[in-house]
Assembly symmetry: C2
Homo-oligomer: 395 residues x 2
């Protein structure tokens, strides 16, 4: 009696559901402490102390009505001004409150932008590997999504194919850098080439192609890598952001969209996005969280902890014979499965108490994602299991 | 360049947008303190003190990772158990955590249920007057919505028309009691008659008709009125709830769905609803707020304050010659406009600094909604304006 739509969505998200369900079973059978859960991107570095201090101060000192009231559907003007000012300091932009729309995380923001921009006969182009929930977000709006096949050499976008796959109905290009699951950070040069292609295609078709840059991992970069500010490179860029990773607030559901004034039809788009935020049922991003992140948006998580995990896991796994690129961002390793079928490989990994996520969940079969936003201790304890798993395939 | 979909949504929500935009203009011109804003249902009774105390305690004493972590997409099991236990005490039910799905307010919950149950060739039946955002929620899923025309005698549902309007593609009936905007509370007898009709129609067509009862105003009742627990009356009922009004937490975006085990295809529906909550972009209801409302779900707002407003405004306006029923619930008066065109009437009201909401926003033209979740002082100050407005029409 459920809808055909949600059945389709459930089928699409099967890879994640299976990992989750099988992981839960394993934990119940063996005890959670005996399972090595590398499945989920749930930060294990605590939020900076000032986050809770700020929330407590607001709850204690502010007028209670003001703390809990509906906000503008775009968010509190004061919060949006603070975030705009922070971006201006960092990226040399000149945003104001009108350019910021507070959202229920990046997932909320992406759904808002897809609803705002896309009609059923238009297409979103993304680049594999990508978080396959994008498929659900597109389906929510009845919109087609296409993906540039993965370049498994270095996981940077294959720009030749990218160019070929843009057509006159491509209204949105959706990128994610630093990338989940590969951990690559798109370089300035790569983004400049993408911008050139997009400009050319816009001119060729006389259309607008909006580039949506999904950047919840913007601050999680290593080895001195930097994330260029994409709107400074391509004019029609909108950035979706979340504080889930950068401030370790995934349960809080708070993020924002940056909609620069320079994009085509700016006034129409910001007005419509605000309406979409309301009518999709978000109404407004949680009010307290809006105020907290506005005060804390320049705070940083302990990136060095993730970096230590990254170094340990990358070094250990490659020594054991696993193949993967060394990620420069996010908190995932995207590792080649030791057999062609990543689902079968994940199943075998579970026999060693290792929970991994199938590459098919990122539209890149033959690979698995390992989240290293976990405790160092768990990684250390899990290494023998990874070794035993590898040895099984060397027999 | 915005989508045709969002343009349609914007056109549908025009009545609210106009009220909001014109109100903002008036406040900017005259100063907010000189405008009588009866437009929005934003509670002006503070949340019970224990709400902020609980939030502060959790933020101070709990493990920070646990406070801010992703929760299950259905919500924290402990929070859901507390809410289930509270419902069981109040309504003699036997719910457990599986029957509760934490949502981003009732708006989130309604979108989740529509996505979970409805396909494009099926229809939602609701009863006018109704909150016209329902139209947007239906449109989000590409679903048709029909409404039983308003019965302006007493604003109770016209059950004869209700019965006539159900057909084999009616998969969902959506009711809202206590009702926004009329303030009527559906009596046990009315609900029993609706249940009989629904049972008959299910049998006639061999279909399942889910009744979604949208109840954010459940606790806001006066004159000893009570809200029967609808799932005890009609088996295929799902209840959407929000703490926006009952605990004065509209900005927090927290509510829940009650999905009783007795409904048809229960297992399928709860699983799909949880997936819908994730994939619509909500991911999970805000984690801190889940914990807070679970601890505070038996707390009550100061209903007597709203009751005082209701008495004062009802008495005063009817004395001035305005026509309306005396509401038994929610915090709105639904008043007959003094001319046929409620939009023109609202415009005239604005000349007297009165912000009202057009009846067309509730699919009931010729009426206006007056929110009395405002300060007593503002009502008292506004009465001469209401009088002057009435006198204009008596000339």
């Amino acid at each position: 009696m459920i809808s055909k739509h949600i059945q389709k969505i459930m089928d699409m998200g099967e890879a994640f559901s299976e990992v989750f369900a099988e992981g839960a079973k394993l934990k119940e059978a063996d005890g959670a402490e005996n399972v090595f859960d590398f499945g989920i991107g749930n930060p294990n570095v605590k939020a900076p102390a000032i986050v809770n201090e700020t929330a407590i101060r607001l709850l204690r000192d502010m007028d209670s009505l003001a703390v809990h009231s509906y906000t503008d559907t775009s968010g509190l003007p004061a919060a949006r001004r603070k975030i705009a000012a922070s971006l201006n300091r960092r990226f040399g932009t000149d945003y104001n409150e009108k350019n910021i729309l507070m959202t229920v995380g990046a997932a909320g923001g992406l759904n808002v932008m897809i609803r705002t921009l896309m009609d059923a006969d238009e297409e979103i182009l993304t680049i594999a590997p990508y978080f396959s929930e994008y498929d659900c977000y597109a389906a929510n709006a009845g919109v087609k999504i296409a993906a540039v096949p993965p370049n498994t050499v270095d996981f940077m976008p294959n720009l030749e194919l990218f160019e070929q796959m843009i057509h006159e109905k491509t209204k949105m290009v959706l990128i994610n850098t630093p990338n989940n699951p590969s951990g690559v950070v798109y370089s300035l040069q790569t983004l400049q080439k993408m911008a050139e292609i997009l400009e050319k295609k816009q001119a060729e078709y006389g259309t607008t192609i909006y580039l949506i840059s999904d950047e919840p991992y913007r601050e999680l970069v290593y080895d001195g890598a930097t994330c260029p500010w994409v709107p400074n490179i391509y004019r029609n860029t909108i950035v979706a952001y979340s504080f889930s990773k950068s401030l370790s607030l995934p349960g809080d559901r708070i993020g924002y969209l940056t909609i620069p004034s320079q994009i085509d039809d700016f006034e129409e788009v910001v007005t419509a996005a605000s309406v979409a935020n309301r009518t999709l049922g978000f109404i407004n991003a949680p009010a307290l969280q809006q105020m907290v992140v506005a005060e804390c948006c320049d705070e940083q998580t302990d990136v060095s902890y993730y970096d230590g995990n990254r170094e340990l896991l990358y070094r250990s796994l490659t020594e054991m014979g696993y193949e993967c690129i060394k990620p420069q961002g996010a908190f995932y390793l995207f590792v080649k499965a030791l057999e062609e079928d990543d689902r079968a490989f994940c199943k075998k990994a579970r026999e060693h108490k290792l929970l991994l996520t199938m590459g098919i969940g990122f539209r890149c079969p033959g690979y698995v994602r390992i989240s290293y936003c976990v405790s160092r201790e768990m990684i250390e304890k899990a290494l023998p299991a990874f070794r035993a798993l590898a040895q099984e395939y060397q027999k």
